[in-house]
Symmetry: C2
Subunit: 154 residues, 2 copies
């Protein structure tokens, strides 16, 4: 993929990632550090919870969602980070053996009023499992550099 | 802390966590797996970015926020997981050596209309650094069990 900048995106653009298979070991490792609740940590005890087995921490699924999107290369040249994320929704459990991929769609584009070298793009990220079911949606606010040659400040 | 259930919370209740010191190694390890952007991964190249040095992935700070809150024990007996999170805001960078703690405040309480054994509580989580500055805020929607003896369904 050639280098993309703020100016290259338009509303409706979609970018599809490759996949990742989530293992039991990865789920438990993440939960040990960041979300040690029984349904993320203990495959036996998890059978007695409403989830009826081990599921990935939602924070794990979020982090994988962004990682998969990053691998598309869309943000490689232009990312200045992010001030936040909205409307994170965990729609279905992610279980050991599930394979996830992500689609990021441009839903809003706002040039900065105060800094001419950048702008904000809102992406709706949707994370799908191997059955095509949505497991997570969230809206990321990404601060992106404008294409250098088009910047009035340079 | 004694076991808490949905019925034990009231709007305005606040719960303060212990602290955690975030190291350069932890920041880079997390970024390698989930957010391999230059300002999270490469301490030298990060000097040339707007952040002027290495900063933690926002997904790392989020996960630590929830981990610290979990350690208060508030959710230990009653957590049924979460359908989502709203209004994640990364307010200041988290840098190697920063020490974080979290305050969770109850901002809304809604008994379930369809399931008498549970309800939803919205917590506003605020993550502070060692200077008392807010580095992250977010609103978590937590599905919680009602106290068993008070449940009409049992």
């Amino acid at each position: 993929m050639s280098d993309l900048y703020f100016d290259d995106f338009k509303v409706g653009d979609q970018f599809k990632s490759g996949g990742i298979t989530v293992t039991e070991g990865q789920i438990i490792d993440f939960a040990m550090r960041y979300d040690p609740q029984v349904f993320h940590l203990d495959a036996e005890a998890a059978k007695g919870t409403p989830y009826r087995g081990l599921i990935a921490s939602g924070f794990h699924t979020m982090a994988l969602t962004f990682r998969l999107f990053l691998e598309t290369g869309v943000l490689s040249s232009c990312s200045l980070g992010s001030p936040g994320i909205d409307e994170v929704r965990w729609l279905l459990p992610v279980r050991p053996g599930d394979t996830l991929h992500v689609v990021g769609e441009v839903i809003e584009i706002r040039p900065s009023k105060s800094r001419f070298d950048r702008g904000m793009i809102r992406f709706r990220y949707t994370n799908f499992n191997q059955r095509g079911e949505k497991v997570l949606t969230m809206i990321g606010n990404q601060l992106l550099l404008r294409r250098p040659t088009s910047s009035p400040s340079m």
